[in-house]
Subunit: 209 residues, 2 copies
């Protein structure tokens, strides 16, 4: 086994350390976050930090890092109160990744990256019209992480949009069928492979284990 | 497109809603969390909520849900100050999933599920000896989510252990090579598929886009 202690980690080159710590937590989902500023200009940014917070009420979160392009997203959510989460599939990957670049502040990433927005009557945040899972959210609460000045921003789901027939009988969206991608570390995108569904573990079924 | 509004979501059957909201956020990583209580009894529980918080200092988090088996994990982390995150690969899947059952409070899941622990000289929390990524952490801070009484628990990485040669030249752990699994929703586990590495998006490379 190779072992890296905290001291070793602190001594690593900045980029090497970022790759290591971003990959040890395992596979993440790739999503585009859509927002609108006070002038009505849309913004779109790729995030690998979308997390499930709870189902009832339906809550999802994103992490906002200081001093990054993600700050536009944060400012727009704070001023408008709303954002969208849009799953990235294989067709969207190249254009979605381009949203991580720096652009003039008066031009939308939707235009710069060739991505078509669409809108709902329920809120002002733009969806990615080609995305197979489109989620509209209203800001619910935020938590400031003292250890590194990041922000956990939680939204309440207002609306979920997906292709007809995308849902299984028990309520699952099939990520593989929708060609959704995962992220390994910062920039390695991967397909979702073969699926194995595990049964609920009851007290009974454990007798034999 | 099918559309579910917040009102629709509230009206869903509890299990259907849980499956829907757990799957809309996309693929998650599967990990076993190892802890020890004040009597020295080890505990092991499967989590799909491990998240990257930051690389410098190295921070990872887990979500603790109220009234679940995860509470033992929380109590042990609070009393001991330490926990481990252990990535689940194909070999571990069946036994890892069994840790989600309910067991007598005086027996360890390590024994009940046939998983061998291993220990470090740096902290008291047990590792899963067969896991290809073993991370030891010390509790750093916690945040209580008002909207649904869950807890975001952040740990500082003290140690990372992985197979010799598991790291790429730039610091990435190759999740596919390590046979790591992702989780779609609550109980659908999937392999990590073909990988595409995207280049860093500089201002220059965007001129042509």
């Amino acid at each position: 086994m190779d072992i890296y202690t905290l001291d070793d980690i602190f001594k690593l080159d900045r980029r090497f350390r970022a790759n290591l710590i971003n990959s040890v937590s395992g596979i993440k989902s790739a999503n585009l976050i859509g927002t609108t500023n006070t002038d009505g200009l849309t913004n779109l940014a790729i995030f690998n930090s979308v997390m499930h917070i709870g189902a009832n009420p339906p809550l999802l979160s994103i992490m906002i890092r200081p001093h990054s392009v993600e700050r536009h997203t944060y400012e727009n959510i704070k001023s408008s109160g709303y954002f969208t989460i849009n799953a990235v599939n294989k067709t969207l990957l190249e254009r979605a990744h381009q949203t991580s670049g720096k652009y003039p502040s008066d031009v939308s990433e939707f235009i710069m990256c060739g991505i078509k927005p669409s809108f709902s009557s329920l809120h002002p945040a733009p969806y990615v019209s080609e995305s197979p899972i489109q989620i509209g959210l209203r800001i619910e609460e935020e938590h400031h992480i003292k250890a590194n000045q990041t922000i956990l921003l939680i939204g309440r789901v207002l609306e979920i949009r997906f292709p007809n027939g995308g849902l299984s009988e028990d309520g699952h969206l099939d990520l593989k069928k929708l060609n959704l991608l995962g992220v390994n570390g910062l920039d390695s995108y991967c397909e979702t492979g073969k699926v194995k569904v595990m049964p609920y573990v009851s007290k009974q079924s454990l007798q034999s284990s």
